[in-house]
Structures are given as C-alpha cells and as structure tokens.
Symmetry: C2
Subunit: 222 residues, 2 copies
Amino acid sequence: MNANKGKTISDKGLRRLPKILSYLQELQQYGENTVTCTPIAENIGCDPTQARKDLAACGAVGRPRTGYDITELIALIETFLGWNNMSEAFLAGAGNLGSALLGFRNFREQQGLDIVCAFDNDPAKIGTEIYGREILPISKLSNLARRMHVLIGIIAVPAESAQGAADAMVAGGIRAIWNFSPKTLEVPENTFVEHADLSVSLGALTAKLNLALKKEEVEHGR
Amino acid sequence: MNANKGKTISDKGLRRLPKILSYLQELQQYGENTVTCTPIAENIGCDPTQARKDLAACGAVGRPRTGYDITELIALIETFLGWNNMSEAFLAGAGNLGSALLGFRNFREQQGLDIVCAFDNDPAKIGTEIYGREILPISKLSNLARRMHVLIGIIAVPAESAQGAADAMVAGGIRAIWNFSPKTLEVPENTFVEHADLSVSLGALTAKLNLALKKEEVEHGR
C-alpha cells in the first residue's frame, strides 16, 4: 500500500499513465513479461526519465537490465488510477451524447467506471431505459448520490444546464466531475473537474487544418 | 477574408475558441446583441487580454464600450475553426466507440463535421449500416479518401490497429486525424493529430480523486 507514498506526479504525468497502461496491455498480449523505460517512453513519445518518474509515482521500481514486471506494473498503474475497483458514477443528460456514453462498454470493462443512473429533465425520457439504465428526474440526483455514496458525476447536458447539474452533483457529495459540456464550471475547492468537451479537441484540429490549407493556397499562388 | 491575416494564436487559444463560441450562442439565445471581452473571459475562465487576442486572431475587432457584435463574432469564429462549411470525414473503427461517434448528431449540426463513411476489418460488420452509414473494408480507405478528397480522419480502433489506420489515412491524403485510441501516432509533418482518448481525461480525474481520498483518510486517521 505504499503506492504514491511521498511521490508526486505532474498533471502531464497523470495523462501519460493511461497511454503507458495501454502499451503494457499490448505487450502482454504479445506474450512479453518484462519491459524497460526506454521502449515505454518511445511508444508514448516522452523522455525515459519522465516515464521512470511516472512509474515511480505509482510505486513501481524497475530492476537493472530486466526493468519492470509487466503484470505487476499494470496492477500498480490501475490501482493508482483507481481503475481496479469498480467505481459508480451518475450521468446528467440522457440526450445524444449521454446515451452514447451509457452504451460505451469500455468504461466498465477497462476503466472500472459503472454509470449506474442517468438523469434528465425531459419528461419524455424520464422512466424510460437506455442500455438498461433507468432515466430519473434530475431533481433526484443530489439525494440519491448522497444515499448511494456516488463520488463521480458525468455532465452531458447543454452548456446552459451544466452549472445547475454540477451544483446538484456537489450538493450530493460528488467530488469528481467529468464535464462533456463546453461550460466552464464553478465548483468548491475539494471537487475535481476534468473537461472532456469534444468540440475543444475537434476545434483545435479543424482550425489547424484550416490555417495550413489557407497558407498552402497562398504559397501555391492559387 | 482577412481573418487570421498576420495574426497568430496559441494552442491554448485555439482550445478557448469553442468555449467562447458556446458562450456566445448562449448569449444569443437570451436575446443579447453585443458583448465585451470581460464577461467572455469571466465565463471561460481566462484573462480579458487573452480573450481579446483570441478574437483578434479570428479577425474580430471590438468597438469601444459596446464591444463585439455577437452574430458577427460567431460567424468569424466558426469560419476560423472551419465549422461553417460542412467537412467530410472518414471513420476507422465501427465498434462500440465508433458507432457512438456515428450517432452523435452534434458533430454535423454544430461543428459541420459529416462522417460520410466508416471502415472496419470485421467481416460481420462490413456491408452493414450504422446510423445510415455503410461499413466498408478498411482496405478501401486510402483509395476512397483520395477519390473523395476527404481530409479528416477519425480513429476509433484498438491501440494495436491505430498506426495501421493512420498510415492508410495518410496514404489517402488525409491531413487531420482525430485519434480516439490510446496509441501515440507517427505521421508526416504536414499531418495534424489531435488526441481525444477519453481514458486520458478519465484517468486524470479518477487518479486525482483517488489521491485526495487517500490523503483525507490519512488526515482523518482512519
């Protein structure tokens, strides 16, 4: 239980761990037993020293020459990320995106995230089931979160309803919010928010392509 | 047509634009006509000077006191992001995540992204339709991308197949790849990759929650 004891990890390091984990799982599928920092760093595109630090934060210690035991390393990273125990999550918003998230089995199978209830304001949706999960009125979210000790909330409502959903989550004791709306949320200091709005990464991609194509047009004198 | 003429924008700025756009659309819904940098910056959580620079990069010029015309500003940002014209995209991987992406109408309605074809290796999927899009063998991706002049590719295959899908996209002339796999892709210099692996942001969130809960356990002497 001395994982992360006295070790710190940067936000960038945190974001490297799921990539490292995926690479280790790939190696395991190919029958590999041990791995050193160098191929890990190469695969995820970072410095070997950084990779070593990230793994040390998870409590992993490599042996000279042989490196890390892959099975052990996978278990340490999963523990560090909190993915080896099933965590229950509430979902606010059962529209197009929310439904897609409910149907995405990987969360449960790979990240141990079980979306146990979904909430919506739409009377036509309330009481129906999506992928086996009943849709409840959003007014019930706070009480139910507190009763069920749910700590993770997912926001998939439109921007104008996002702060209200976040407030209901916080009131229910939810401490980690995965925000798929474009709204910047205000939450208490002890609550974590991770912004996963897809329009942000799509925007960065299409804008870069757009700028490059315009530049090429100018260069080619068209 | 002098949007972005001589103006540069940081990667962080690029990522603020979709959030600003969403806020402007909200204001428009409430019947507002003009807006200054201060409420924009407040809403998305940045400095007013940064917001002004981001908007200047899109070619927007605010008037003293009144600020920006909202309708005009929305059009300028959408043009800058390349969202006002429908862009065609190819999708590699018609599994659980790929299907969810095919069904997510917002891409078409809000970001002007039309996923016109989906590709997969699974013979059971090839020839079937998901949300009205036929699933084609991945071997046809390159030729079809070149023939249809598709420039955007979306990768929703497992990590071990991601590089192969990226290679096929690059061979077909695709210049912008939206990568939902955990794999770090190698692509030529003139190709843009945006990593949108959901496990990365989920991992950052659950790890932070996990670390905080452990710290609190220690502090409360439990």
